[in-house]
Symmetry: C3
Subunit: 161 residues, 3 copies
Amino acid sequence: MEEQRKKVTIVLFSGTLDRALAAFIIATSAAAMGMDVTIFFTFWGLNVLKRHGQQPKGKGWMRRMLNWMNRGTARQLPLSRFDFAGLGPWMMGRLMREQRMQSLPEMIVQAKSLGVKFIVCTTSCGLMGIEQGNVIPEADLFAGAATYLGEASKAQVNLFI
Amino acid sequence: MEEQRKKVTIVLFSGTLDRALAAFIIATSAAAMGMDVTIFFTFWGLNVLKRHGQQPKGKGWMRRMLNWMNRGTARQLPLSRFDFAGLGPWMMGRLMREQRMQSLPEMIVQAKSLGVKFIVCTTSCGLMGIEQGNVIPEADLFAGAATYLGEASKAQVNLFI
Amino acid sequence: MEEQRKKVTIVLFSGTLDRALAAFIIATSAAAMGMDVTIFFTFWGLNVLKRHGQQPKGKGWMRRMLNWMNRGTARQLPLSRFDFAGLGPWMMGRLMREQRMQSLPEMIVQAKSLGVKFIVCTTSCGLMGIEQGNVIPEADLFAGAATYLGEASKAQVNLFI
């Protein structure tokens, strides 16, 4: 009888490059080890899945303002420390290339090819006025906290990042 | 024989509106699904349980200064991004009402009615000079890390928010 | 037949005093309760294990600049809120002593004496140019995400702090 596959879930709440990298390094490593991995993108973490050049607008001036301030995709996220208006992330990208690490957009592609499941939080989408067209096609599912909890309650490793 | 109820614990360390909302959306969803949920409020997360109009003072000028700076209850928490001296949380509240989401104070009431257990971290209370009278009556228990760990080690989902 | 020991893992990603304290209070409490505890230090969390007076330099001007900005050891970490250029952490230290709490460097020593295992993230070390000589001797192991996941998938409590 085969042993059941281990399962990992990550809530990616943060929209900073450093935390998104941590989430994707853990997710791709786990998937490469044969684990079943789900990332639930919520709040600022949704930026990681936003489609480049398709910034959401949303209904009402408040959403438009929020989306204008909160622009940024996986190609361009701030650092939680030492951001310096984008200089920090640029330097981080250079250091990563020098270490032959993948960039965040490359990690997204790799995660998908390893079978990592991407769930987009519908509550956050509603709040921020993000629609399916604003999200990259790698997203598997739009769902809420109940779907996340169904997966997490069967997993061995659950992280909130 | 009945299957055992799934169990969720959340350490709420952060005192920002966005992270507190994430914690309460997960907690109330889990409780509504029949899971057994405990939130352990510690450090800045204690603000969520502070009683309105009963800001703690504490012993010594350092505690008084800390509590004066760290004022705020579930009705008035900053956002981790785009706070703009309270404009951000006000806009978030408007967007939430428009989406027919509950406010954080309403989620606290709902969580209690669904049986979510609130533990207040005694170590943080001692450090910050917070007393029982400064905390809303919804708190179930004042206890330390050992009590939290006793619960977490029996849970399927443990998050640090 | 003896029941198996419960297991706790913590990813310490943050380099702030408040989050490091939360991690170490949970870690030492769990170890004192007889649980098997591993802390995986990554990104800004590496600062907690940096050796005083041995700030890493690293190869290239970008790493030197990053390490110069990101200086700080367990003796001197910023607070995530109310840091005020070090005044906040100094006050926190005074309040902790008054409450007879251990300082962070003392907690590190206690954690080791209770058998807590410290893993240093090799990916972060490579990125930031941190070498073995820059890290305190209490570190047990330099390893990557796969080692962390091996431990976490056997643990009951896994936290990302």
